[in-house]
């Protein structure tokens, strides 16, 4: 069932365009929203069994030799993520209906759902290889969604940036996963958990850790890979809310939390993860202060939250891990709501600049209430869930040392400020003049932010229920053993609470001096960051590519052919030379000439004759027909030597090739001789050499048997195992059908490529 729940999203992603075939389809988004809604209900139903430490699992073998399997496991952490994905996913699907127009929706939902499926796969996979595949799928769908407005240059380059950064990290992570698999002896996450000692004492531990963390850091936009996330804000707002705040960017955090019981607890873990997290937390919060664009503000504050999560997982104390799990949920709820509010404001007023927004409470009261509640949760005020989360983080800092506490309090202060700027500022004060005249957004667009804000309130009011339902079991997954978490809203007046009061007051004070704060900070703008380095490297790569293309891709077919054939001949000759056991002379002498029939000789003569005609023919048509004749004659050889399948294929291929040649040559100018006589002599020498090499290769191939032959296996097992007497066909469609699948895929890609080349040429529509 778990596997079905993940795969069903992909299936609906494929089918969803069918729902938009009719014009003016108003109910389709609601129908699509039923899927994630149903999945949320299903995941909630799995919570009790996860809470008692008996999670639902599903395993099917896949590529066992590689250690890959289709195994899923719905434990507390996985379900917490799955619920965030399916729950916020439901709301985003509905929200998008109001935000995007009809035409865009038909293109939008398939990618959004594909992302949702991939992300659910990441959260629920129990096999690292499977997880990696879903992980890369989230990068791909994120690429398509960031670049959704693909007519804009900024959208395309930001999409490419996000893809390059996250997939480079993904590749490092794959290497890390393989090293981890070698150290731990398995790719099954649940099995690795019991091999903690073996993994951490293994010599591959540190390389595996660093490579996996590279994947997690790029995905979760940790410093110095953080620059792609603010740029990804060119995506439609539902995407920013969903992928780049609530779910995808937390995949890296998820992976670190998931592997903490295996990899965590060492000095390397604490310093790398904790250090990078703290740095990102502060840099993100600091950079957010001077922003005036709503979405960029939220993006930088998301960086800060991701940094906080990473830091907490790095610290790894039970309190820190508990705080991380609580923040994960709290942040998903309030940040998702605030992003959707930002989208609603932009949709209605036509601007995202906070300095141009004000007094909107009167025209957009429902949105304003949702925004206000979410902002209070982000600022960490009771009785909202954000308050509980922030208190836990403060306690974590106080438990460890003073410096960390200072950093955490700074983050808390930034958070209060950002929350007021985004969630309160646009609605209070005098109403400003905006590009569009604002109205309240439609139901589909206020439902999501208010519901998320309401959940923040609900979770804050009933922390005991929330923690026994999901926080306890999720924390147990991260800690690696069963722990019971009891959350309370009110925990008395203690140092953490006093610090909270301080940050809230300071944050409000900062809000009143926001304009002078921004102008001071903007003087210190710093352009030599990692983002600059990325652009520099990309430009260099492009210039290098252009340079080498100019040299190698000159566009003359005759020189291409010459180079290809020469390289093939030389490398083949070197390879032959280096096989010590090959004796060419004896190969010649051994070749059995006693049973050569007269028709074999005739065929050979005919083939040679047609080849000569093809070379010497003064017209293209003549050459093509002669080549076709040579091909047919070779097919006859196959037939005589007992390979009817090969012969039939060759006949069909030759016929089609001749047709293709004729069609292509029809468009070429009249046959001309471009090369001089001496050039043709060089060509003749090259082709003779190539021919001689091929002849030798064939003779040697008959003699040399490098690996033992497997044809006996096929001959013996074709009928009993695969119910077919035609071994060639059985190999193609049964024994080696994965190869065939790969081959027809390549064929399909080639087909589309040729079509694109011919149909979409420069200067044509």
């Amino acid at each position: 069932m778990i596997a079905v729940s993940v795969l069903s999203v992909f299936a609906v992603a494929l089918l969803s365009p069918l729902l938009f075939r009719r014009q003016n389809n108003n109910i389709s988004p609601w129908l699509i929203a039923l899927l994630p809604l149903g999945l949320s209900a299903y995941y909630i139903s799995l919570l009790p069994s996860a809470a008692v430490g008996n999670p639902l699992t599903f395993t099917r073998p896949w590529a066992e030799a590689l250690g890959a399997s289709f195994s899923f496991r719905a434990d507390g952490l996985g379900l917490l993520f799955a619920l965030l994905i399916s729950g916020i996913g439901t709301l985003v699907v509905i929200y998008a209906r109001g935000y995007l127009n009809q035409k865009d929706l038909a293109l939008f939902y398939p990618w959004l759902l594909a992302f949702m499926g991939a992300m659910l796969g990441v959260a629920l996979s129990d096999n690292l290889i499977l997880l990696f595949i879903f992980w890369e799928l989230t990068s791909l769908s994120s690429f398509m969604l960031i670049g959704f407005k693909n007519e804009k240059e900024a959208a395309r380059s930001s999409a490419l940036q996000a893809l390059l950064v996250t997939s480079a990290g993904g590749l490092a992570m794959l290497a890390g996963i393989i090293l981890l698999g070698m150290a731990g002896g398995t790719y099954e996450i649940s099995a690795l958990l019991s091999n903690r000692m073996a993994v951490q004492s293994h010599s591959l531990y540190l390389p595996a850790l660093i490579l996996i963390l590279l994947g997690a850091f790029t995905k979760s936009a940790q410093f110095p890979f953080h620059f792609w996330l603010p740029n990804a804000m060119v995506a439609p707002t539902p995407v920013s809310a969903y992928l780049h705040s609530a779910t995808m960017v937390k995949a890296g955090v998820y992976l670190m939390a998931r592997l903490h019981p295996v990899l965590g607890g060492t000095d390397a873990w604490t310093y790398i993860v904790g250090g990078v997290g703290t740095l990102t937390m502060l840099i993100g919060g600091y950079l957010a202060l001077s922003q005036t664009d709503l979405k960029r503000l939220l993006a930088y504050s998301t960086l800060s939250a991701l940094g906080t999560l990473t830091m907490l997982i790095g610290l790894g104390t039970p309190l820190a891990l508990k705080a991380a799990v609580v923040l994960l949920l709290a942040h998903g709820l309030y940040k998702g709501a605030l992003f959707l509010v930002a989208g609603a404001l932009e949709h209605e007023t036509g601007t995202r600049d906070v300095t141009k927004l004000g007094g909107l409470f009167r025209v957009m009261p429902i949105t304003a209430i949702g925004a206000g509640v979410a902002a209070l949760s982000m600022a960490g005020l009771p009785p909202l869930f954000g308050f509980i989360s922030k208190e836990l983080i403060y306690e974590t800092g106080l438990e460890i040392n003073l410096w960390l506490t200072v950093a955490i309090v700074a983050m808390g202060l930034f958070n209060v400020f950002i929350a007021i700027v985004v969630g309160v500022g646009p609605f209070i004060g005098k109403q400003t003049k905006t590009p569009n005249k604002a109205h309240e957004v439609p139901f589909s667009m206020w439902l999501a932010p208010t519901l998320l804000a309401g959940l923040s309130l609900f979770a804050g009011m009933f922390p005991g229920e929330v923690s026994s339902l999901i926080i306890s079991s999720a924390t147990s997954s991260v800690v690696g053993e069963a722990v019971v978490v009891k959350l309370k809203l009110w925990h008395g007046i203690n140092p953490a609470f006093l610090l909270s009061i301080g940050t809230v007051i300071a944050g409000i004070a900062l809000f009143f001096v926001r304009n002078s704060l921004r102008s001071v900070l903007q003087k210190f703008e710093w352009k030599w960051g990692p983002g600059y380095l990325y652009n520099y490297a990309l430009e260099g790569l492009m210039n290098f590519a252009n340079w080498q293309t100019r040299i190698i891709q000159h566009g003359y077919l005759r020189y291409y052919l010459r180079v290809i054939v020469l390289i093939l001949t030389v490398s083949g000759a070197v390879a032959l030379w280096r096989i010590p056991s090959v004796n060419l002379i004896s190969s010649f002498n051994d070749s059995n000439t006693s049973n050569v029939m007269f028709y074999d000789v005739m065929l050979a003569v005919l083939i040679l004759g047609s080849a000569l005609v093809a070379v010497l023919s003064p017209s293209r048509m003549g050459a093509i027909v002669a080549l076709g004749a040579a091909g047919y004659l070779i097919a006859l050889i196959y037939l005589f030597f007992g390979a009817p399948d090969l012969a039939i294929t060759q006949f069909a291929i030759e016929s089609l090739t001749v047709i293709l040649f004729v069609l292509a040559f029809y468009h070429l100018p009249k046959f001309q001789t471009f090369s001089s006589a001496s050039e043709r002599k060089i060509d003749a020498v090259i082709s003779l050499l190539a021919g001689a090499l091929m002849t030798m290769l064939v003779l040697v191939a008959v003699d040399v048997q490098i690996a033992s032959s497997i044809s006996h296996y096929y001959i013996e097992n074709s009928l009993p195992l695969a119910y077919g007497r035609n071994i060639v066909n059985v190999i193609l469609v049964d024994f080696r059908n994965l190869d065939t699948l790969g081959e027809i895929t390549v064929l399909g890609v080639a087909g589309i490529g040729v079509y694109a080349l011919l149909k979409f040429r420069k200067g044509k529509e």
Binding site: P644, T649, L656, L660, L663, L732, V733, D734, I752, Y755
Partner: protein, 139 residues
């Protein structure tokens, strides 16, 4: 490219159904005798290619009745799907499953490799005809 020949047109019109039948024959016998999806796909492509030369690509497309690129997609999806059946039974991807039908040979054995071969057939037809039609339509 226009080749206005009555003889060619008549022949192509007659040959098309026969060649398609022949390709079906090759396809079905493929598991036991020389043949199979790949070869059958080439034969079927040749039939339409001949038709498109005798008439033109547009009419050949009309007779085919389906977009060639769609054929590629359907073929690939069929081949891929045939691999999933075994997984529901707890076996690895692409393991062949067979059932017996009370029909005379060769129709009595039906299995996922047949579906796979069908995918190969459609993909080959789709790719070949995409090449040929696109080349013919170049202005």
């Amino acid at each position: 490219m226009k080749m206005d020949s009555l003889i060619l047109k008549t022949t192509a019109r007659l040959l098309l159904p026969n060649l398609l039948l022949f390709s079906l024959f090759i396809f079905i016998r493929g598991h036991n005798e020389p043949g199979g999806g790949f070869i059958a796909g080439l034969v079927a492509s040749a039939a339409y290619a001949l038709y498109s030369i005798a008439f033109d690509a547009e009419q050949a497309r009309h007779v085919l009745g389906i977009e060639t690129r769609l054929l590629i997609g359907i073929g690939l999806v069929l081949a891929l799907l045939s691999g999933f059946f075994s997984m529901f039974g707890g076996q690895a991807f692409l393991v062949g499953l067979w059932i017996d039908l009370p029909l005379p040979s060769p129709f009595n054995k039906v299995g996922t490799p047949l579906l796979f071969d069908m995918g190969v057939f459609l993909a080959v037809v789709g790719v070949t005809l995409t090449f040929i039609f696109a080349l013919e339509e170049v202005k």
